[in-house]
């Protein structure tokens, strides 16, 4: 039985007609056409479907639409400002922090969430926030470089 849910996605309110057990992943990807949200494992292990829920990185394959009614969701599509890439996205390009890039939106969002809370992350914090995302191509060293650079850039910018 379909019900109506209201989601605030990337700053815009969407009314969704969906069964309460429809996964957030499908709502974002299929119903709202947000292609950056991708299924990798379907069980919350790989992080390819990461979105920010109230600023926290979560696996959208593990959430039902009925659990996120009225909540605030950000995907990579929502990071740009006036068409300009987010500094974390720019750092990923600059530091060659991806190969096939299937995992990249998830990593970018985890890094963005981390920098909101931990502007000066040490290695432990980096591991804590980023080890929930998997990169099968093995670009991890460059991902770390990119995220460290983005953190540094942000600190310079704000000081």
């Amino acid at each position: 039985m379909k019900q109506t849910f209201e989601l605030r996605v990337n700053g815009r309110v969407h009314r969704i007609e969906a069964a309460p057990d429809r996964r957030l992943l499908e709502v974002l990807r299929e119903d709202l056409g947000l292609g950056s949200v991708r299924e990798g494992c379907g069980i919350g292990m790989c992080g390819a479907c990461t979105v920010l829920l109230g600023g926290r990185p979560v696996s959208s394959c593990l959430l039902l639409v009925s659990q996120v009614h009225h909540q605030e969701i950000v995907t990579v599509e929502g990071l740009e400002e006036n068409g300009a890439l987010h500094p974390v996205q720019r750092a990923f390009i600059e530091h060659f922090a991806f190969q096939c890039a299937y995992c990249t939106p998830g990593f970018v969002l985890s890094a963005v969430a981390m920098l909101e809370r931990e502007p000066d992350p040490d290695e432990q914090v980096l591991l804590e926030y980023l080890s929930g995302n998997l990169c099968r191509c093995g670009s991890y060293l460059n991902i770390l470089k990119a995220v460290r650079a983005a953190a540094q850039g942000r600190r310079l910018h704000s000081s």
């Binding site: 890439l85 060659f96 096939c100 890039a101 299937y102 995302n133 998997l134 191509c137 670009s139």
Partner: protein
Amino acid sequence: MAMGQSVPVRDAEARVRGTLPYLSDLRLPGMLVAKIVRSPFPHARIRRLDPRPAMGIPGVVAVLTAEDFDRPGAPRLVYGVDRKDQPVVARDRVRYVGEPVAAIAAETPEAAEEAARVIEIEYEEQPAVFDPIEAAQPGAPLVHEDCPNNIFLHTRLRHGDLEAEFATADLIVEETYTTPPASHAALEPHGVIAWWEDGHLTLWSTTQAPFVVQETLAEIFGLPPESVRVIVPPLGGGYGGKGYVRLEPLAAALAWKVHGRPVRLILDRFEEFVTLTRHAVCIRIRTGVRRDGTLTARQVEVYWGAGAYADITPRLLRSAGLVRVVGPYRIPAVHVDAYGVYTHLPPAGPFRGTMSFEGAWAYESHMDTIAHQLGMDPLELRRKNILRPGDRFCTGEVIEEAFFLECLEAAARCLGWGQPYEKGKGILRRGRGLAVMMKSTLPRSRSECRLILRADGRLELHTGTVEMGQGAHTALAQIAAAETGLPLERIEVIGPDTARVPYDATTSASRSTSMMGAAVQKAAFRLKEEIRQRAAPLLEANPDEIIVRAGRVELQSRPEIWISWEEILRRHGLETLEAHSVFETHGGLNPETGQGIASPHWHQGAGACEIEVDIETGKIRILHYCAAAYAGRVVNPALAELQNQGNVVFGLGQAMMEQIVFDHGQPTNANLSDYPIPSLRDLPNELISLLLESPEGNIHGLGEMTLPPVAPAIANALFDAIGVRIRDLPITPEKVWRALHGDEADIRAPGQRPCPSDRGCP
């Protein structure tokens, strides 16, 4: 200069924006979704299959079964790129858990799933065999009735007088090594969209080999190849798992039954684990050596457990399966026997580092066992025997570009090999190990390229090379820019699309940057010649009085007289100017003797590492890892580095974590929780990538070279640390702990014992 520059990959912005269109992002009007009904048994007869209940589900458009094949006007059921042994869907018998039995096309995923649930199938279970050694014994259950002993191919390499050379040895060492099935685990699953219109088939597929898919489907449907069009979007990783032909026959047959509407098939993670795996392998290796460390003879017997269908294994066994298991050493006598064996497991196929991974695991661990028994330094033993330029390999071919020693020494030096280091104390012990490998690429394969100069001054590079994250399209564009002198921004890469781009064998075996790169160079040369010829009348000069420069052509004697490429096209009234090229490699081995040319050039890599092992838990931590590859001429240093790092990270998973565990043919860990792949937490504390460059050398593909040494380097370091020799991958903490405690209990799952080391290969 585009060559040698670290330019970002071509669609970098789309990649970080999440807008790169992978197959799952394509939407076609009227597209249906497909679902496969799969076998729950490793071996069974299908007694009855009734698709009618599925047809009754609202939204179901078609149900495909074996009954739809081999009738007039219908597709052929059985296919295979080498042995024709695999049905598109099972007919009377299923041969592995997960084998497709039927397929459903429906309006919605829910309808397709419901239909898959209600379809009626009665099975009668049959005896099954999972271990390639057991499968090769007389009396074992047969996977295919026409293949006695389940051995579908036996290839041989014969070099030198084996017995005489063993007789000159002071010491003979014999060991058995095994590697289990593993999953490629690309984060993007396999996917296909198939669409029939007016007798023509269009496929969008996540394949690494669009032209092989085209050829195979043309054969299945009895069509000329040009009636089958294969388009490949960017891939979210491949690693060999998307090589050759996978889901395309099934998706195409289902779409054929639907006719007129596109059908989309995308696998879930469980299905990924039963679609293609790494081989289950047992290698017995026996080596004769003199007291001074000189190798005299080597005998290798390899059982390649290929699963239920031969797939690409026969082709691999005729070359790779022989030459990738010997090692980069000068050995007077070498015999290799490679067996391709059917079992009741999912099919096995190419896997990043194919056959070199298994080979190096055995021969490089084995080298350390020999060094230990001789009381010699492992580096010294290798140095004494390693192939040097001008040496003859056991295939009879002379190795000209030999940098094995340089790779090995670079890795060893980077680690500080031979210098004192903290050996650890208490429960944490440290050790060091190294390994080297040689890997062939494909002999007898072809890459073609077309360059099209447009009147607007842009250059189209038409290629069948698949972009799967390795950066091949960027590297090819850089080569085209370097050869034509055009700025990189003016080069557009088109393809793969079999209707638009010329032939390419496959994107695999680290061949693309090297072979397609050579094709691009050749086409660029031809294009410039064409431009010269066209410019001559316009400049009122002979072609040989003209110099072709970047984007312009000038008179040799009077450089101030020139004409732009665009102007040449305009003045001739041409929309485009084209140049086509073919680059081929030759050679191949005699499968009875293994003599001939195995590879146009050799991939060479080494690794050295220091590890720390916790003797209470068996847990290994990699402290330092140095990976050295012979890179030749580097096109894009940042991307080359990234490939090299990726090799080590991928290799760490294979070495220490990954194994598909089958229990009587049932995969028990077919998900990314029970089958972990490396995360950031599994990285070495320090990972150093070393690329040995040679600006005058050839261009090499770098996506595999340093992967095969990872597992033996770690195992050798473990032996150095605590004197424990692990011979069965992966090197899990439990295995280390049990070995350390003399616990001989077999900790592998049932059906997961390709070759117990206490028994040895027959």
